[in-house]
Amino acid sequence: MAIELPENVMVSRLDELASWCRKNSLWPMPFATACCGIELMATGAAKHDLARFGAEVFRFSPRQCDLMIVAGRVVMKMLPVLQRIWLQMHEPKWCISMGACASTGGVFDTYAVVQGIDRFIPVDMYVPGCPPRPEQLIQAIIDLQDKIQREGTITGREFDTSQRQLRKRALVDVTGVLQVDAARNPVIQRELRFPRSESRLP
């Protein structure tokens, strides 16, 4: 049975409609701690003009944002702040790890610098570079838009897959390398007590 549609009417899935809305109005939360933050500002400014991709509304309040851009190194004193801000953001939300330091610790392989934020919060896109050019960040946002359109659902089911809940490799390495301190490390102790996905914040 054919249904005749009036002009200017399209048929879609609700999931795709929601994803289309979300991907074209990403509101970034700039977590800029270092020189990557300068490039982040340049990305949002007139020359590179992030507004072309609907993501120019930088908000410094996590309640108003759905895209966290971690630009720069995160030290161990800052990580609890980063995690708190991430928890304060509303679903659905995404995270871009911008630059070598946010992704891996970069050249700062020292006691105070976290060796990649993906060890402690979920990350959707990694941007290489030290610091990355604005074009690279824009490419990451375009790729993230593709990802949202491709797998987004109106209820956020894509965040519940078992693969998304996997623990990151770093903790396994830590238990192997730093045997001495495993007994004093609350994260490792909790990992041992509640294996994998049962682990929660205290």
């Binding site: 161990m76 004193k77 990580l79 609890p80 995690q83 991430w86 928890l87 679903e91 392989d109 020292t110 006691y111 105070a112 610098v113 976290v114 060796q115 060890r119 402690f120 919060i121 979920p122 965040f159 519940d160 998304r164 809940q165 623990r167 990151k168 770093a170 903790l171 830590v174 730093l178 001495v180 301190d181 495993a182 004093r184 490390n185 609350p186 994260v187 490792i188 909790r190 996905s197 682990s199 929660r200 914040l201 205290p202």
Partner: protein, 175 residues
């Protein structure tokens, strides 16, 4: 005024400072390098020494810092504290060295004499673990309060002892 800044003038000023200190504290070890005076004192006379310096007009404490001489060639003492002082009235400067050793390195606090010593001593405590006796508020300055080690000690590994991994891991289901 040109000759006021010549080398001789600076040297004679420096010599004056050393002479007056040597008269008061016999056996004081001192050296001069390009007009900059450096004296080495013991922890026992530190408070008396610094009180005397302040009376001499050294009214500004520029810096308090420390060097860990562990495995340093020829070194006999482990920690060498550095006090940089200035007399703003005369422009004289003085470097005071004070050596302490493990275990439980401790020196008297001079935060009662110069208020700038308060945070400087907290930083040295934080980074080197040298206790400043009489300090009003000896808490960590840079590292988080729950941090256990003193990271600028030479026997502390550069990559830490797991402190940077010491956080809960958030997943998507944590919110």
């Amino acid at each position: 005024m040109a000759e006021a800044h010549s080398k001789d003038t600076v040297d004679s000023r420096a010599d004056d400072a050393i002479e007056s200190l040597a008269a008061r504290f016999p056996g004081l070890e001192s050296s001069t390098y390009r007009g900059q005076v450096r004296v080495v004192i013991g922890a026992g006379v530190a408070l008396e020494f610094f009180t005397h310096l302040k009376q001499l007009g050294f009214n500004q404490l520029i810096d308090v810092t420390c060097v860990d001489y562990l495995e340093y060639r020829g070194a006999t003492r482990r920690y060498g504290l550095v006090y940089l002082l200035t007399a703003t009235g005369t422009g004289r400067r003085l470097t005071v060295r004070l050596f302490v050793d493990d275990p439980e390195p401790a020196v008297p606090s001079i935060s009662g004499l110069w208020r700038s010593a308060n945070w400087l001593e907290r930083e040295v405590w934080d980074m080197f673990g040298i206790r400043f006796i009489g300090h009003p508020d000896l808490r960590r300055l840079l590292m988080p309060e729950e941090f256990l080690a003193h990271p600028l000690r030479k026997d502390y590994p550069l990559q830490g002892r797991g402190e940077r991994h010491n956080f809960p891991v958030l997943t998507r289901e944590d919110g």
